[in-house]
Each structure stands twice: as structure tokens, then as C-alpha cells.
Symmetry: C2
Subunit: 728 residues, 2 copies
């Protein structure tokens, strides 16, 4: 039934000195074509000399601690907001680092505090004039005078980071004792750049056998602030936030480039910092753009050195990825040859597959070959079941691979750990086989995709395509829905409010999807107060567009509605301002609607937005919970809308979404071809080579019917987690 | 054990012509001293001539429909906001009454629409200039030109009410067929006043035997807007809202009096109208004050006529009560002799008992002698159990009567209905006995009250003492907590933010309580952005005050905190702007805290505010739900705070509140005297005559210990719903 498939290539194996036989044996069994080192492992001469591409990791910002120690003013910096103090008197004294991890941060007393810091009265939200406070570097405190009694006072201040965040995490997690703390240097300074380039050149000279240079990302870590361990270990972390790119030097360059100055409060933001969850200000986007320009410009110089040494450069799309912005417009100018993403979910597959400007995309599979997983749970040790873990993650990942091509997969960690888990070795062999099959099919031609294109509308737009704040966040509507989308046979694009303002709604888009809680970047926050946005979407829907709103779509406290598109959605939310207005009654239409077909279980979104009420007699409620509609649909002129009070990635909900996309696009008559009757299964048809792939997402046997282009049903019986190929 | 108690007096019986024997027999059995008529009943000569005070009802604004019909421009008015229309073109036409009940409202085409109406673009929230729209009185529509396409357009317009709300409700509920619709006339016009006074004088002359004239309130009904019955019967209702007092004439008088004009939008408020749930604007409070002045001034003239006829005047504190404001500063100037409140709950008892300026307070008990109750449930008919209903309501009401004196109780409705329910007759006899006992004890001296005075802080303050928007609203934190307070031996006062601004926190207050959801009048809304309020409360707590916050206390989206008193409460709420800030961890202290004593069951607040996190290492979490603290306490300088994530009136929660009041007041060492060990029981000690009253709030036997002033326990065993008196 299945064609002969490739049995080698596209696989990166973590080698390990001292286990040369095992390394070469598994390289053969899994069909590896590249062998890598990992944090904590090295490759021996026997491995390096075998016939595999060699693949070495490097992280330039923490590469040479001696240089860092002798250039402490070149360490990376960031702003912190001191813990609030309530003024008991008209003078307050604030110990800046109180509550913070003093091993991570050191107050920057070098750059003039009066120039770069700000003190705020957080009761009123107003800045306290600079002549009312002074910094005492001997005690690390700020004294503020003439404050209003009983008000809350905070200081925005600059710190050097004296312990690089990722190595700090590894150091503390693995209890590395008195091993020296690595410090991150900032490439923004010409002197640092000069050092880094010379370091890199020497490293290249020292690694003649290395074919692929893998950057543990580039220069700036995602934001990660730690607290006094006696009080609170972790204070703030955001995979997309640019907090850690800040320094007076960079801010000075920025002011020259942009013609205005950033302030500390632009980054501190009342203590909320610049979280990806929040709607970015124009100023923040401008700063990100500026840092992106810098990272690309200097990163390019590093990559040019690598290319000059006849090696290729890959980036690990994690850790110090900030400033590279793989979905930014300039990314391709960096010149990376490959991009590696570690993956648990389908959305991460699509994230990696969707990046333009690299030749090679690679997935790093979980579980890593470590004794424990990310949350400390046992993996390759007693109590762990790495084979089951691998199956489970693969079942998620494979949904994405059905839709989008990836060039390589691989593992990381300590190879010797697999010796006690022969089942795992077999499972990886099975996985590599499935991976190569799908890769081969994609190479011939893209799979059937429905005549439905959905645009996910957020405040970030395409810059945060597929990924929002890093790993999957359970309960965050947009992650949940994106994981469903990642395996559906529809086209997906990501747009921002600014895109709509500048270019209107793209002509090829059939459905706009907006999902999230009020005020977040995902729902859109104050962008919904922009009448031009309301006009554009309302007109577009009236003329036949589809709109799917999830959670608090279009929500903003503005004028006389809360959902600013309540006239399209047919529902709004009672947030306490119209409590005495009686709400329209409705009857629940039930499960005969098109979007409910195939769904035999009760819909469960996990958490629902409550107090929803209908605002239009033409709103059809399909489901409710505690007298609050949870699913409502409406026809609006030639267009249609679907409202869902929440979303959770689950087979039935994915089908509900799939059908909602067709229905809102007015394409329900075209639903059928290349769909499965059983919602626990998925299929993809590759018309160029007449292959139909059916997968079972469940760890148990499943039977399903697959419908072909003519509506003919093909019965398929699938093993647990099985993949089945049919020639048509 | 019990003293001999009064067996007659303080009871108002509804008499019924045709049932003279029954009337007089029950008057004797229940110890009535007054006999009343009811809506739908009359008293015959035999009843009137018996030795009872006669008590007749009158409602002046709907008294003479012929006069109303011949003075249609004197009908009462109000503003409505038309249902929103989305502009598909640059011109829209809006059918004003579409969606409204056309039998209740008639567009006022007499007063110049251009002068009194407004048209709004509700997408932007901006008014559309008056020269862009015109009203077509022939079609009842407004045409608006040059609107922005796809925007939402509404009209604020004036209507006459052509069917008086309460009689409309009775008419439709009781299916009165083609009986003429009664129309409400507006006493704001001199001509109406003249007519009303002459009507009243004639009525007084025609009712020589009437001793007590009971106004079915005075002139203006609480707001009650009905919709097109085919779409939505009820649109808006608010027991405290002044919507129905509006007219161009009144607005003109107002402008002269206050020096500025009210606009339609002051009343329409984006379609939210002027709900009691919302923080009142200064303008709205000013309008209420103006109408209160008018009602008192003209109401006084009516009452003077009654007094001149040697009769007394009582007001029924419901229906047309708007403008009388029994808790307003001017109420006593009205000159009412008595006030009647129908009651289901203890807070209504306290509401009635707390009014100053009347000699007599009276409660109208439920169930009314009607076949069905307020919600249509069977009462005096097959399937009903009026005896159980009476027991149940009495158990609630009695908690309030333990603390505050009331002069009279009574019933309403059709007396003959009790003939089939002899148990009910016995139950009322028991109730009247208990009522007279408590009245007698109060007459000797007030019961023991704890050394704790709590001030309930809302945007309304004392104007809405005890009652907020009418009947009890389950799930509304402040009603739930007020029902608990109504039976506790503490002093209760009600203050507003303006009170604090003008006078500071009253010296005799020990604890401030703030309960409700963000943005509501109960929590306080934008008042919490006022730094003076924050300063005042923070300083006061630091110096020893107590603060109890329930739900979203002090909540406002302002500066860097959501609970503006998070520094006192020790907790704040994640509303989506600091999602990536890790929250402090805590351990749950558990049930050894003072406020948890006596409580053997799990605390259940019904609905909780979620996503609470602690902001201070000194916050002690006593309970949590899904990783969100539900009960937290904190010491703040010399003061203390308690945070509760919700509240539901239940015996254990009442005890939790009782103890929280003592703890935050720093009075825990004084807890004990005159408390019960069993939370299902309450007690009150009347020191002036050495009587201890113990009541069982449950419909089952309960045993309890009562602790006297020396901490000595007195064991008491109580019948279901029983009341027990101990001489000390």
C-alpha cells in the first residue's frame, strides 16, 4: 500500500562522547544525517570523523565570562520597578532591590539615575518630579521627599544583569554549586561587537569539522525577572517581551534614529512591563523594530563569518530569540540557513514551517533525553514513560505536519539514557518513518486545502503568527483555537488592526477570527474603539464576510456596547452597567444546525465567558450554560457570524471550529471532501501524488469514514495513534 | 417563663365585604386594631361601623382617568432610547417605538423634538448635530442624514406614558380584558396640582369613617419600561431610578433652579439609563434632589388636607415611591404619620425601622392573601402552602425585628382565601404573638449591641440605606451581606464617598465595609480614582480602623493596581494586564484564625471573584478556590483588613462576617457576650428588662448555647422556627 519511503536523512542525533558505539548504532537505526552536541555533552573524535554532518552549539552573549567580568559596564541591562512602598511620612526611602534576586540584578549606578530613572506616585499614576528624589549608591536606596502621605511610591531603575538567565536557571535547577555565574554581555556596544566577532572567528577556526553552527538564539533573552528566593522565585517572564534589550546606550541610539526618547515607563508600564498579552503601544512597536534592525545588522556580520568559513548557520528559535523576529519583515536579511524549533504542539510546527527566509526548518522533538522533563516530572528515569510521552507529543505534532512541510526533526540531550528504554528507540524509528513519509508527500505537492481562508485578528498580527507568548497556555482562548486551526485543512493568516487600517481586509480572506479576553492583545483592547475598524469589518461582513468571535471578541468599554461588534455577533456581555435592563429571552435552537453536525458529545469549552445576552431577535442560540448563551450564530446581510463563549482544544471543539469556518464563509455546501466522520481522526489528501493520509489522534483504535471529492465514503480502521496511507 | 404579653393591637387586617363574620372573627383572633381595604376589595358598612380604625388606599396620579383623558399633555413622560439601527446608507430612518410596548408609550410630538431630543452615533459615542435629523410625526420616525456608514444610530426621544405601570401590570397579569387603561398624570403642572388637591378633598369628604389614608406611594413610579410583547415583555426596571419623573416642563423648572440644563443623555446614558447599580453622576443626584424637593413640597399640601380632615396619612414604601426618598434629609418635612413596607427579608425590616420622620412603622407580611405569589407560584390555591411560606418569611424577618423596633404588622389581599387554610390562621396568630413580644421588649429599652459600628460604603451612601435596588437580588454581594448584617448585634450606618470627602470618616465608625463588582455604585466605580479617598481610608486603617472588602472592593482600572486599596487588603485581582507577572505563592493558613471559629462547614460564597492574588508577604490566606484566595486577612499598621471573594447569606457566612467585624475592629477579645454557639440560632439580650430572646432560624429543632456577659453558657433547646424567652 505505502510507497517505498526514504529511510535516511532529515534527522539530527545528539551524540555523546564515551558512547561512540551507541551513537553510531542509533544514527544508523534512526537514519540520522547529522550529529550534534548538547548542553553538557561533547562529541569525540570517533563521532566527528564518522560520515555525518557535525552540528555545534554556540551562544555568543555568554561565551567568555572573563571578558564579561572585565567589562561590567557592557553587561546587559533592564528596567525594574521597585516594590511599592506606602508613604507613612512625607519622606520615603526605598530599597531598590528589595524583593528581587540580588544574584541576577545589580543596580546601575554608572548611568545617571536622574537622567534615566523615574519615580512614580502609583496612587495617582503621576510621576514625581526629579528634584524630589535622590539615589544613594552606597545603600542602593532612593529617598523621595514631599510625597503625599499614604500614597504608593515606586521607582523605575536600571540594573545590570550579573547572571545570564538561562544559565542561571540551569545552574540552580541542576544545583551546580559554586560554578562561576555566566554574565550576559550586550552587543549594542561597538567594543562588544568587536570582541564577539573575533571570538566567533577563533571559534570557527577551532571547529574545523563543524558543518552547522547552531546559535542558541542570538543576543537577547526573552524577559525573565527573578525575585528574592525567600519571597518569590519568579516575578515576570514573557517569551516575546523586549525588556532585556534596554540600556541607556541603546536608548540614546534610538532617540537619534527615531527623533524622540523612550522613557523608563515605556518599559515598566506601571509594573505590568511590556507583556505580550497587552496591546503594544506604537512606541513599543517602534522600539522592537529598532532592536530588530540592530540584531539583524550585527547578526548578519556573525553569519557572514560563518558562511566565509564554509559552514551553515542555524538558529534555535527559543531562549535568546528576542530581536530576531522570524516573522518580521527583515528576518530573511539575517541570512540564516536553518531554523530549529522545539515542539510539543501542532501550532509550533506551523510556526516553524511558516517562517520565510531560511532553507531548512527543523523540529526538536520532546521528550528531550534528560532524566526529567520541563516541569521536573520523571522522563528517562524510574517512574518515567518516555515512549508514551513521545507518542503523545507526536500525535499533536503530526496534525501540523499533515498540513505544512518541515525539513528535519531531531532530538537533544544525553543519548546514553535511551539504553534502558528499548521501546523508545523503536518509537523514534516509527516516528522518523512517518516524518519522512509526510515530508516526501509534501515534496510532490501541497495537500488539499479547503476554499476557506481565515485571518486571525490580534493587536500583534503577523509578527506573532502561530505563537503568542511561548508555550501553549491552557485556557487562553487563542492558543486553544490556534492548536485546533494548526491541523485543519484551511488557510490561516494573521492580521493586525494596523493592517486593516492601512490595507483593509485582505481580498482573499473569507473569515476573520478574534479570540481572547478584553484588554488583551489577542482580543485587541482599545483598537476596538477605532470607528474605522468597526466600519471596515461591519461593511465586509454585510457584503458576505464571516466573523468568528471567541470569549470577549471586540470587547472594550466604549460608548453603549461592550462587544463593539455586538451588532454582528448578535450578543453582548453584561459587565455590570446595564444590570437593570432585562435581557431578551431566547430558545436554544439545539444541535440541528450545520456547525453542530458530527458532534455527538456535549460541547465543553472549559471556562466560559459568562453573562452573555442576545441583542438581536435574529440571533440563534445553539447552546447555553447557566442562562448565558455559549454558542450563537447570526446572519448579517450577506455575511455570517459565530460566537463561542470560550474554546478548548479538543476533538469535538476542533470540528465545531472547522464547521464554523465553513458556515461563516458561506461554504457549507462544500463541506465534505477530505473530511473524516470520526472527530478523533484527521486526513490529508495530496492530489499531486494521489495519496490520502489518515491519522488517529487517539491512543486507542478508531474507525472512521473518509469522504472523497465526490462524497464517497472510504472506511478506515486505525491502530492507536496510527497513520494509514491510501493510494487513490 | 414568658411575661404576659399584649394580645391585641399593632395589626392591620384586610377586610372584605361579603365576609363580614370572617372579617370580625379574624380581627378578634389576630388582635387587629385596624381594618383596610385592598386593591380589588371594599369594606362594607358592617365592617366600617365595627370598632376598628379604618384604613383606605388612594393613588392620586391614576385616580381620575376622565381628567387624564382630557389632559393628555399632563400625562407623565420619560425618555427612551430607540433600538439601535446600523446605517447601511448615509441616511437612516428609525421607527422610534419599534421594540417598545405601544400601549405603554406614545411619542411626545408636542414638545419640540429638536429642543428636547438627541440623536447619537453609538459607534463613536458622539451626538449627531441636530440639523442632520428630523422627526416625522405622521410616521413616528426620525430620519438622520449624513451618517457614517456602518455606524450604530439611536434616538433619545420623549414619550407620554399612556398606561400607568402598576395598573398595567395588574391588568395584564389578571387578564382584565377591555377594562379601561388608567393613565398617570404628572403633578409637576400647577393645573394638575389644583385638580389633585380638589380630588383629594372630595375623597376625604366622601370617606368620613376612614381613619388612615394610605397612599399607594405618592406620584412617580420607579422606572419600568415595557417592550413589544412579541419580542420582549420587560425592558428596564429599577426601583430607585428617576426616569419616570422627566418632562420638558420639569427640566425647564430645573434649569431655572439649578442654573444649568439636563440633557436627554443624562437620563438615557447610552441606553443603560440611570440604574441604581451604576454610580450616579453629580447631575443625576442634583436632579433627584430637585424632584425630591418638588414631591415634598406638593406632597405636604396633600398631607395637610388629610390632617385638616382629622385623618392620618401613611405611605406605602413601594410602587410610586420615587421622589419621596424616606432616607433623604427632607423626608420628615412631608409630614407622613406612618410608613408601610412589604417585607420578605430582615434588611427590609431594618429599612422600615430606620426611617426617621414618621410616628408609625408597619410591615406588610408575605404571603399576600392572593391565589398566587409575585412570581406566579401557587399560594392560596391547590399546590400552595401559605403556612410554610409565612413561617419561612417570618424566620427571615424576625432576625431584623430582634434588633430594631417596628410598630405594626399586617396583611393584604382577599381575606376569604384563608378559609381553606386553618393552619395559616393559627400561624398568623403565633406570628402576631411573637411580634408583640418583641415590640414590648424594644419599648422598654434597646437590646445589647456590640462595641462595633460598621459603615457600609457605597456611591449612594445613606440615601440607599439598607435597600439598594428593591427586592433582594441573589448573588449581589451587597444584598447578601446586608441581609446578614440586618440580624447581627452591631451598629450599621451607610456612608458615601462624598461623605468622606466632606466630613471624613465618622469618628464612631470602627469598620468600613465595601462590597460589590467593579464599576457598580456598590463597589464605588470611579470614586476609587480619587486620591483623597485612598488617603483618608489608608490613614484611618493605619491608625486602627478596620476594612472589609467583598468581591471587587475599591476596584477601578487606574494606575498600577486594580483594587485601589490592594495595599490594605493584601490582595489584588488579575484582570488580564499583568498575566505574565508571576504571582506570589502562599500557604493556606486554615481554620485556626479567629474569624473561622464556630464554623464547622466549608465556606461557600456561591459565586466568587476569581483570579485573586496576594500582593504582600504579610497577607494571610485563610481559604482558596482554584488557586485564587477566597478569604484573606492582613494587619496594616494598627488596623486590619479582611478580604472575601464573595458573599452569600447563609448561617456560616453570617458568623464569618460577625467575627470579621470584631476582628477588623480589634475587638476579638470582646466577642462572646450574647452570642450563640449554634450558627442557626440568634439571640438578643434586652438589658432594661433582663430578657434574653433566642430564636431558631431553621425549620427543624436546634440546640444552642448562649453566652452571657460573663461568658457563662446557657443551654437552650428550640423547636423548629421557635422563639424562646429567658428571664435573667
Amino acid at each position: 500500500m505505502a510507497d517505498k519511503i526514504m529511510s535516511r536523512g532529515g534527522f539530527t542525533l545528539p551524540g555523546e562522547a564515551g558512547y561512540e558505539d551507541l551513537t553510531l548504532e542509533l544514527a544508523e537505526k534512526w537514519g540520522a544525517d547529522a550529529i550534534r552536541d548538547s548542553d553538557g555533552t561533547v562529541l569525540s573524535e570517533a563521532i566527528i570523523s564518522a560520515d555525518y554532518d557535525i552540528y555545534s552549539t554556540i551562544c555568543l552573549v555568554r561565551a567568555d565570562n572573563d571578558w564579561a567580568k572585565s567589562h561590567r559596564d557592557k553587561l546587559q541591562q533592564n528596567y525594574l520597578m521597585s516594590y511599592p512602598v506606602i508613604a507613612q511620612q512625607e519622606t520615603v526611602e526605598i530599597d531598590l532591590l528589595s524583593g528581587f534576586f540580588r544574584e541576577q540584578f545589580e543596580v546601575n549606578a554608572k548611568d545617571d539615575p536622574r537622567r534615566w530613572w523615574q519615580v512614580f506616585d502609583r496612587t495617582t499614576g503621576e510621576e514625581i518630579p526629579k528634584d524630589r528624589w535622590f539615589f544613594d549608591s552606597a545603600t542602593g536606596t532612593v529617598k523621595v521627599k514631599d510625597v503625599k502621605k499614604w500614597h504608593k511610591i515606586t521607582v523605575n531603575f536600571l540594573v545590570y544583569r550579573i547572571w545570564e538567565a538561562i544559565s542561571m536557571y540551569n545552574h540552580i535547577t541542576n544545583d551546580w554549586g559554586d560554578r562561576e555565574h555566566q554574565m550576559p554581555v550586550d552587543p549594542i556596544y561597538p567594543e562588544t561587537q568587536e570582541f564577539m566577532l573575533s571570538y566567533l572567528q577563533k571559534w570557527l577556526d577551532d571547529h574545523p569539522k563543524t558543518k552547522i553552527v547552531r546559535f542558541t538564539s542570538l543576543f537577547y533573552n526573552f524577559a525573565w525577572f527573578w525575585g528574592d528566593p525567600a519571597m518569590q522565585r519568579f516575578i515576570y517572564s514573557d517569551w516575546g517581551s523586549y525588556e532585556m534589550t534596554v540600556s541607556p546606550y541603546a536608548m540614546t541610539l534610538y532617540a537619534k534614529s527615531r527623533g524622540y526618547e523612550m522613557t523608563s515607563e515605556d518599559f515598566v508600564n506601571g509594573g505590568a512591563y511590556c507583556s505580550s498579552h497587552n496591546v503594544p503601544s506604537e512606541r513599543l512597536l517602534d522600539w522592537m523594530d529598532f532592536m530588530n534592525e540592530f540584531v539583524i545588522q550585527f547578526g548578519r556580520k556573525c553569519i557572514d563569518l560563518i558562511h566565509a568559513a564554509n559552514k551553515t548557520a542555524y538558529m534555535f528559535y527559543d531562549d535568546h530569540w528576542v530581536g530576531t523576529e522570524p516573522y518580521g519583515k527583515q528576518f530573511k536579511e539575517l541570512g540564516f540557513d536553518g531554523l530549529i524549533k522545539c515542539v510539543f504542539n501542532a501550532f509550533e510546527v506551523r510556526l516553524c514551517a511558516g517562517v520565510r527566509g531560511v532553507k531548512t526548518t527543523e523540529l526538536r522533538l520532546h521528550p528531550y533525553l534528560f532524566p526529567t522533563g520541563l516541569k521536573g516530572e520523571p522522563t528517562f528515569m524510574e517512574g518515567g514513560d518516555p515512549t508514551l510521552d513521545a507518542k503523545r507529543f507526536w500525535a499533536y505534532i503530526r496534525r501540523g505536519l499533515l498540513r505544512a512541510p518541515i525539513d528535519r526533526i531531531g532530538l537533544g540531550g544525553y543519548l546514553h539514557l535511551v539504553q534502558d528504554f528499548p521501546d523508545f528507540v523503536e518509537e523514534i524509528e516509527r516516528i522518523t518513518g512517518e516524518f519522512r513519509t509526510l515530508k516526501q508527500f509534501h515534496a510532490v505537492g501541497r495537500p488539499y486545502t479547503a476554499p476557506v481562508k481565515v485571518a486571525v485578528l490580534t493587536a500583534w498580527g503577523s509578527l506573532r503568527s502561530w505563537v503568542y507568548v511561548g508555550h501553549f497556555i491552557p485556557g487562553m482562548e487563542l492558543y486553544e483555537v490556534t492548536e485546533s486551526l494548526a491541523g485543519l485543512p484551511v488557510e490561516v493568516t494573521f492580521i493586525s488592526f494596523t493592517d486593516i487600517m492601512n490595507n483593509g481586509i485582505p481580498e482573499d480572506v473569507d473569515v476573520i477570527l478574534n479570540a481572547g479576553k478584553v484588554g488583551t492583545a489577542w482580543s485587541g483592547g482599545d483598537h476596538w474603539k477605532n470607528e474605522k475598524i468597526i466600519e471596515a469589518i461591519t461593511e465586509w461582513v454585510a457584503n458576505g464576510g464571516g466573523f468568528i468571535g471567541i470569549g470577549e471578541p471586540s470587547a472594550a468599554q466604549h460608548s453603549s456596547q461592550y462587544f463593539q461588534l455586538s451588532h454582528l455577533l448578535g450578543v453582548d456581555r453584561e459587565i455590570g452597567v446595564t444590570l437593570n435592563k432585562n435581557k431578551r429571552t431566547y430558545s436554544v435552537f439545539g444541535k440541528n444546525h450545520f456547525i453542530f453536525k458530527d458532534i455527538n458529545e456535549g460541547i465543553d469549552f472549559g471556562t466560559d465567558i459568562d453573562n452573555i445576552f442576545i441583542v438581536d431577535k435574529n440571533t440563534t442560540v445553539l447552546a447555553e450554560k447557566e442562562n448565558s448563551p455559549t454558542i450563537a450564530v447570526k446572519k448579517c446581510g450577506a455575511g455570517r457570524s459565530v460566537y463561542l463563549s470560550g474554546f478548548r482544544f479538543a476533538p469535538y471543539n476542533t470540528r465545531l471550529l472547522h464547521r464554523s469556518l465553513y458556515w461563516t464563509a458561506g461554504q457549507e455546501q462544500n463541506f465534505g471532501p477530505w473530511t473524516c466522520s470520526n472527530v478523533n481522526t484527521d486526513c490529508a489528501y495530496y492530489p499531486a501524488n494521489h495519496k490520502l493520509v489518515v491519522i488517529n489522534n487517539k491512543n486507542q483504535m478508531e474507525n472512521t469514514k473518509v469522504f472523497d471529492a465526490n462524497g464517497k465514503a472510504i472506511d478506515v480502521s486505525l491502530d492507536a495513534n496510527g497513520l494509514y496511507i491510501i493510494d487513490l
